[in-house]
């Protein structure tokens, strides 16, 4: 058996996350997902035997972990720094893609899974949302915010960012994201100086 990490498997996941955040899950075919990373179709079902749902779930977790790591690192400098990094991440995604890419987690969250398969992907999306909220919430508590207020504010931040990214795409305008940025920062400032 091979000891080394298979490189193709990760490349497929990365490509899948990139395609899903642009076209959505139902809008991305398994063939496209494979071709997007240069992998053959057969490899897709070799690495992800449960098919499209499994690949989507892993893509969601991959994109989620990426943002989670950025968040963890920057939150060490405080919740405002974490927020800024989180916002910058999505700002770059939207701008770099010329308003064609959004958040793959959100893309999966707004699609009802087919009746026959078990909904791995949307469950993964829920976990990613909770992970982001948990990190933000803990950081707010560390700076003196009340636990319930910290949790609620963390939810507001994630919801507003996700919603505004979608609005930016539709309008082809980065303003929604920038408009919420200043307001969320003020809210966090107020919560930690109480």
């Amino acid at each position: 058996m091979s000891q080394r990490e298979p490189r193709s498997r990760e490349r497929i996941i990365i490509g899948a996350a990139d395609l899903i955040r642009r076209r959505g899950l139902a809008g991305s075919t398994v063939r496209d997902l494979a071709a997007h990373s240069g992998a053959p179709l057969g490899s897709t079902y070799h690495y992800f035997p449960r098919g499209k749902q499994q690949l989507a779930a892993e893509a969601v977790r991959f994109a989620g972990d990426l943002a989670t790591r950025v968040l963890e690192r920057e939150l060490e400098a405080g919740p405002v720094a974490g927020l800024r990094a989180f916002l910058a991440l999505w700002r770059q995604t939207v701008i770099d893609s010329d308003f064609t890419a959004g958040c793959p987690v959100l893309a999966v969250a707004v699609e009802e899974p087919p009746d026959d398969a078990d909904p791995e992907a949307i469950k993964a999306a829920a976990e990613v949302f909770s992970a982001w909220e948990g990190l933000l919430s803990a950081s707010l508590r560390d700076r003196g915010a009340a636990p319930e207020e910290a949790a609620r504010l963390a939810t507001l931040v994630v919801a507003a960012v996700e919603g505004s990214v979608a609005m930016c795409r539709a309008k082809r305008d980065i303003r929604p994201l920038d408009d919420i940025a200043a307001q969320l920062e003020t809210l966090i400032d107020a919560a930690v100086t109480t």
Copy 2:
């Protein structure tokens, strides 16, 4: 020529909005969209000769106008009343559908349209977002909020509501929507008493 409004056409649009908000646009086939309202497939292309994109755009506008009318009516009693009605609308949608339905406008906004067709649907989504923001913003200005602050806060409200509805679906939990409700209300109160 017939003077009366065709009933089937509107029924198709209503059914399309209902299916899109659950499965997304790419996840809804033209046959399903027709069948969902009891209409034959042929009628779809009779009423919407530009095909799926046109039908989706009209479904988005229909759902958008529905919320717009609720918003217009309730905003007469002030921005907080408008916000409450807006939140209640989406709360009911999510609850009544047992967390399988969200906002059709958001569903369309997160999907890149195919290369060959012109993107009617996502343009309609952008207009709906702007209409909602415009109503909220005007109501805030009427109560004394500064114009720039009113516009930014309106964007935050729409973004947070859209994002939290998606989070509710993924988590199968209404809490995200309720958590942002109280915070948005406080923000509006603060903005109009300045």
